[in-house]
Symmetry: C2
C-alpha cells in the first residue's frame, strides 16, 4: 500500500491517452471518453479543469464542442499530468512550500536532503514517459480504435 498514485492522475493519463488515440483532431467530448474509459463523467470534468489550467488541454463549448490536446502527444509526459492533478513531486513535507509543514529539524537532518533528491529523480523519471509512448504500445497490442466522425448518424 505504499505511495499510491491518486485516481485523478491515473484517470488523467488514461483520458489524455484516449484523446490522443481516438481523436482525429476534432474536440473529444467527455461523454465519449467517459464511456470508453469507464470513468464517471462528473469526475472527469473536474480532472479536465486541472489539466486545462496546466495548459495541457483546450476546450470548446456548445454542440460539437469538447476537449483537445494543446501539445503533441510526444510532448505530454506523465510528469506533466501528475503535477497537474496532484501538485509537485514531494515525497516528504519537510521541505515543501507549505510553511506549516516544514520540519524544524530540517537543517541537521541528513534524511531531508535525501528525500528532496529522490523526489527530483522521481519527477525526472515520470517526465521521460510520454503519452505518445502509450499510444505506440496500444497500437502494438492492437487496441481497437474508434474514430470520431464529423457527422452524426441518427439511428
Amino acid at each position: 500500500m505504499a505511495m499510491r498514485l491518486s485516481t485523478k492522475s491515473r484517470y488523467g493519463v488514461r483520458a489524455l491517452f484516449d484523446i490522443a488515440y481516438h481523436s482525429v483532431g476534432l474536440p473529444t467530448q467527455i461523454k465519449d471518453i467517459s464511456r470508453r474509459q469507464q470513468i464517471s463523467p462528473r469526475y472527469l470534468e473536474q480532472i479536465f479543469q486541472k489539466l486545462k489550467k496546466a495548459g495541457l488541454l483546450g476546450s470548446k463549448r456548445g454542440p460539437s464542442g469538447g476537449y483537445f490536446l494543446l501539445r503533441e502527444p510526444s510532448e505530454i509526459t506523465l510528469g506533466d499530468i501528475i503535477r497537474a492533478t496532484e501538485g509537485p513531486f514531494e515525497l516528504v513535507f519537510c521541505v515543501s512550500e507549505n510553511p506549516r509543514k516544514i520540519c524544524p529539524r530540517k537543517d541537521d537532518c541528513v534524511a531531508s536532503e535525501m528525500w528532496t533528491d529522490i523526489s527530483r529523480k522521481l519527477g525526472d523519471f515520470f517526465d521521460s514517459i510520454s503519452i505518445a509512448q502509450l499510444c505506440e504500445q496500444a497500437r502494438e497490442v492492437g487496441v481497437e480504435r474508434e474514430y470520431n466522425h464529423p457527422y452524426t448518424y441518427h439511428i
Copy 2:
C-alpha cells in the same frame, strides 16, 4: 502533494539510521531514539513492531534492553524499510494482490502494464539506497555522535 511517503516510512528510516549511527552494538532504547529524533515514543513502538516482523530489527526486554539491527547497515535499504512499514510498491491498485481492487479493464488497459513496470523500477531504486550511505553522509556533514555508554553516570 503527489505520492507522499507516510510518516511511518520516514520515521522508520530515521530511527534505523539513528541506531546505526549512535549505537556501539548495545541495544538502543526507544526513549533515546525518541529524544534524539523527536518522534513520539508510543508511535515509534508501533513502527518498530513492523520493522521487527520484517526481520530488520531484533529486541531485548527488561532493564538495559532495547532494539538492535539484525543486518549490517549496508544491507538495509530504504526499499526494505518502506515495504516493511507500508507494504509492497504499487503505484496503482489495478494489479494488486487485493482481489477487491483489481481493475476490471486490466486486460485491455495499456496503462496497467505501464504502472506495474514503473512500480518495479521504483522499488529497485529504493533498494539501491542503504542506511550505510545515510551514515556516510551524516559523517561527512559532521552530525554529532552520541555514544551509548555501557555504564550510567548519576549526577
